[in-house]
Amino acid sequence: MIRLLLLTLLALFSAQAEMFQTVPLEKAQLLQQGEAKLYCPSCGMHLGKFYKTSHALEHEGHTHQYCSIHCLIEANPYRELKSAKVVDVTSLKFINVADAYYVIGSEKPGTMTMNSKYAFAQKADAEAFIKEHGGTLGRFDDALKATYADFATDTAEIDFKRKMMAQKGAKMYAALCDAKAALPEFHSIAQAKSYITEHKLCGMIDDQKAQAISIYLAAPKGAHQALDVPKEAKCPVCGMFVSKYPKWAAAITTDAGKTLYFDGVKDMMKFYFDPKAYHHELIQTQMSRLHVTEYYDIKAIDAKSAWYVIGSNVYGPMGKEPVAFESEERAKTFMKDHFGTAIVRFDALTPQLIAELDR
């Protein structure tokens, strides 16, 4: 399964490989207007490259063309999709989704998904396609259902790919692009991509590099750094030097802009529950930002949105600790690998639970 996934996704991002979805631009119908019309407004991918899976939707007089049904759903979460259009693989023309016959899960790779969906105007064409490449026949509703079913895993997969691409993109941007040029704020990958190609910001680069750079440019900046613990910072709860154990550091920043460092989630919580016990005249609402260190990446994440694993076989400098993760999936993996007993959110870190960890 993983292999298949890898293959399809490799195809997704590799410019060299000849892909099933691709058609020459002159054969493609572009329904959307504007400077970014060549790119999917949701993911920024080239519409010629991913033409055969394209969908389009008109909303308030503007038509948006998406590379896939996944992007269509992602960009229009609460909208009625019955009026959407889809490309007929045989004629390469847009047809109404209501008239389309979908082949779901054929061996031909999909776009933004590991479960491909191709649409045909004629039922016979679809059946012929199934005969050759497998898959099941369905209507738009079935395709939607399948897309929703895979949405979470596909999104996670895409995020992972994007993260890897963004790393490369950062290096490419630094090396190839005019780094001094002032950039507008980008709200989507497509916007960034059309901007850098329009302005020839990075010289002549292929679509793959442009995609990587755009993903990097559109990604939120400044996130995910390790906590910068000053050498002399001491934990107000136990008095230890925090910088000695940077892998467990946690921090509370107050409204007044002061940051207190702790040598673990446990001590931070103790302080958070009762700052007065540690001679600080603060109340919880004045502690505006709480950060903890992610176990896997050793990077600071927001404490209130983190996931915590309790009861694992991993010990911090203060013994048993809630171990922090940025996603539930990571927490689950950790719990399995390290025999944790529970996954909890910030609100469930109660004084009783913290006290129990010390026992």
Binding site: V237, C238, G239, M240, F241, P317, M318, G319
Partner: protein, 320 residues
Amino acid sequence: MIFLSNAVIVFLLVEALLLSLLLLALYHVIPIIRHWDFADTSPRQYALEKRSYLAQLIIFFTLAFKIALLPYFAYMIDGLSLMVPGAMCAAGVLGANDYGAFLLGLKVAILFGVGLWIILNRRDLQASDYPYTRLKYLLFLALFALIAFESALDWLYLSSIATTTPVSCCSSIYGASTLGSPIPFGLSKEELLILFYLLYALCLVAALYSIGWISLFANAALIYIGYYAVVYFFGLYIYELPTHQCPFCMLQREYGYVGYAIWGTLLLGGFFGIASALFAPLHGSTTRALYRLSALCNTLFVLICSTYVLRYYFLNGVWL
């Protein structure tokens, strides 16, 4: 693996050399034990007296080196922790096979014997009629047997440290996660501390009033309780870490090698205290000096330990 490190080679080499020197001494000691009679004026007794000079010269120097070799042994073991998987410090290396822990105990016991011999030798030389000559050479015989045994064990121990089998590190040997309280007599930390300082006070009193049997008892108890107090209380302040309980990590550079001072003063203080009790029946200035040395070493030990705790409190405003 005997070629584990330079230190191992040096250690074994030096030990072999010392053992052969002791063997040489043994050759001279046996006739002395058999025929020593200070009242005798025969040429044989005269020759024996001369030989005795050589024997005690060799034994004295060899044993002095032997004392220096114990900290070196600790250092060597500590260095090996880099090569034994899982070991963080000497604790893991000592646990690498069955000989380790016993060997360390034997070494400390021998050190006590060595100390006794040196004091006895001193007393013997100070007196005009060498009253303890036979006694000190008999003690030497016992020591020689122990040292030969120890050398054999050293060889066995060092050659059977496997560099592939993982060992448990100090945190799992002394860690808080082990079942039940590791502190003897089910004492709490506070009770342990009270007992520790009380024993120290008792040692001081015994030294002040030269009460042999109290000194013997109090110092032996102080070594025992002091060990636990350092591992389970003072150590936390040395490591500045409330979860780290280990008697060996403090021997490392990160902690300024303070472990050598702590264990050194504890053992010396205990030794002088016990020795003073043992030599009390002999009277004389040596015993007074021993009491004084015992009090000095114990005080140093308690001062070093307490300073860590107080310093931590003054710097951080909290106890661990």
